[in-house]
């Protein structure tokens, strides 16, 4: 399993009701259903991914976060709402975060760090938009339209009163190196955040 998914699954309690936003081919939900007896849904718009999910017994709903939001889900109906590597691809990440923590009591978010040293270095040196393993697209065709840094994300959480319960920073291979822990916004490529509403 992908190391980031390995980290995420440790945060899922047995029997949790889970919503996975942009669930891809359903690998994570499939694993959580089998290993954690989790229930729940994935949302996806890619037709091939949807077919794969259905074939492996993952409940998947064809739904576009940008146009349809999460209005069809009731308040607090999930224990955990997941969003791996999709926050940077939605039109309004701030609103998606609000919705995640409306329909779920906890959220897990992963995204690529735009302040990683290699991206900074690339931009500084070449004057061109950076590309990396985590961000393999050209500026004109990238689905990643809302790139941010770890610091940006944490500032948004503070502003919204969202509590960061834990953060794991990993490199491109999703390895948890001590350097990335030491200097995350410069050396970390992908962060895995576990968030919830600030308790009153």
């Amino acid at each position: 399993m992908r190391p980031d998914l390995e980290i995420i699954q440790q945060w899922i309690k047995p029997g949790d009701h889970v919503l996975d936003l942009g669930c891809g081919d359903g690998t994570l939900l499939d694993y959580l259903q089998r290993e954690r007896q989790a229930t729940g849904f994935g949302l996806e718009i890619n037709p091939d991914h949807i077919t794969t999910c259905m074939g492996r017994g993952v409940s998947v709903i064809e739904q576009n976060l940008d146009t349809q939001g999460l209005e069809n889900f009731d308040d607090a109906m999930f224990d955990i709402v997941l969003m791996t590597q999709a926050l940077q691809a939605v039109r309004r990440p701030d609103k998606v975060l609000d919705e995640m923590l409306r329909v779920g009591s906890e959220g897990i978010v992963t995204f690529p760090n735009f302040a990683h040293w290699r991206l900074r270095w690339g931009l500084a040196l070449s004057g061109r938009m950076p590309e990396s393993e985590a961000l393999p697209y050209k500026w004109y065709n990238t689905p990643n339209i809302r790139l941010c840094t770890f610091k940006d994300f944490e500032a948004l959480c503070r502003q919204k009163g969202i509590r960061i319960r834990s953060r794991r920073v990993v490199d491109g291979q999703h390895q948890n190196s001590w350097l990335a822990r030491l200097w995350p916004n410069l050396l970390g490529e992908i962060a895995i955040y576990r968030i919830s509403r600030e308790e009153e």
Partner: protein, 382 residues
């Protein structure tokens, strides 16, 4: 029919009639003392009878869903595109049961059958049948066939309503409910179209208050009009436009009111063909069953409370250009299932053919349907 049968066809099939003489109580309060159901089956029932799939038909459908009755048949069964070896409902793995519903006109007991009390056709005396009644009769058929639990109950349109009703009325007798191009209830517009169809039939002078059999006549014009208006709702503006556009049958306008546009002659042809093979009273009955279907009705209009009883998994599919039962109606159903914490998967298939798209094997439709049914088959060890 080609000279040889296609490899992915179930081949030559023979319908079978089952007689039931235990009275069945209907939602309208009446009882049918005895009745027949005509059934076709494809594939083999496995040892633990776990691989059975029930096909529920729509308004004008019947038991002949796949294969051919003889080598002379021009066309295969109505859902041959989805039922057969290697097709989404794979007859190498599933035992498929398809019946003509009660009230139908293709061999099962209906308005054109003899009423044992009078020895004349029932006609208007045949009770109004509901989706719930159909499901009840289908459960009795399942008993007869030795099927305790369906691997899946599958249907499109009115058939999808039956698949949904199964999950509510017999929650422990199906593992999966596949609801395609359907709706949890008709809209006012849907009912309005049905009413126009019924008015077309009942206002035909040859309808004789539904006792036309006694006069050895058929209200052909009414039935034809009903089918014409229905047919329009099955297609999309785009697909009609592509098929006919404004094409004329001859080169110039004739400044009259005969069928000059291709679309007019197509509709007339479809209507005429239909009026030769379908019973007018059955058409009334089927449209009424559609109108009445509303599982949320007994739950204060709350669909998710109605669905709370279900314990199967659901697959819901809609088609982008279906305006009869639009994707929004399927989404309403899916959202109620989500609220009720049921397992449900949903896809909206991009297809230009309107409501009829559920009968046409577009690649994505076939992929999704195949993937889901493959998993159902694996689950029951088929």
């Amino acid at each position: 029919m080609p000279d040889s049968l296609p490899a992915d066809s179930v081949g030559i099939v023979t319908p079978q009639s089952y007689h039931f003489d235990t009275p069945i109580e209907l939602a309208c309060g009446q009882t049918l003392e005895s009745y027949d159901l005509v059934v076709e089956t494809y594939g083999e029932l496995n040892d633990d009878a776990s691989n059975a799939v029930l096909i529920c038909h729509a308004l004008s459908g019947h038991h002949h869903a796949a294969g051919y009755h003889s080598m002379e048949d021009r066309k295969p069964g109505w859902w041959d595109s989805c039922i057969g070896p290697g097709k989404p409902i794979d007859t190498d793995r599933f035992f498929v049961v398809s019946l003509n519903n009660l009230g139908g006109c293709h061999g099962s007991t209906g308005p054109n059958s003899l009423n044992p009390a009078t020895n004349k056709p029932y006609g208007p005396d045949f009770p109004v049948i509901t989706v719930g009644d159909w499901v009840k009769s289908q459960s009795l058929l399942a008993d007869r066939l030795g099927i305790q639990c369906w691997a899946a109950v599958v249907g499109g349109s009115l058939g999808g309503m039956q698949a949904l009703q199964w999950s509510l009325d017999y929650p422990d007798r199906l593992r999966h409910s596949v609801v395609i191009a359907s709706t949890p209830r008709l809209t006012a517009q849907n009912i309005a179209f049905n009413e126009v169809a019924r008015q077309a039939i009942t206002s035909d002078r040859e309808f004789h208050d539904g006792r036309y059999y006694d006069f050895n006549i058929v209200p052909r014009r009414g039935l034809m009009l009903a089918r014409m208006v229905g047919h329009i709702t099955y297609l999309s503006d785009a697909s009609m436009g592509e098929k006919f556009g404004r094409e004329l049958r001859e080169e110039a306008y004739k400044f009259g009111y005969d069928a000059e546009f291709q679309v007019e002659s197509y509709l007339r042809y479809q209507g005429e063909r239909f009026s030769e093979s379908f019973d007018a009273n059955t058409y009334l009955l089927m449209t009424r069953a559609l109108d009445y279907f509303d599982p949320a009705y007994d739950h204060g209009g709350d669909l998710s409370r109605a669905i709370a009883r279900a314990s199967c998994e659901f697959l819901v599919l809609s088609f982008s250009t279906d305006w009869r039962f639009a994707p929004e109606r399927s989404e309403e159903l899916v959202n109620a299932m989500i609220s009720a914490r049921k397992k449900v998967s949903y896809a909206e298939i991009d297809a230009p053919w309107g409501h009829d798209a559920f009968l046409i094997p577009t690649p994505r439709y076939t992929d999704v349907f195949t993937a889901y049914m493959d998993r159902v088959a694996r689950e029951v060890g088929a």
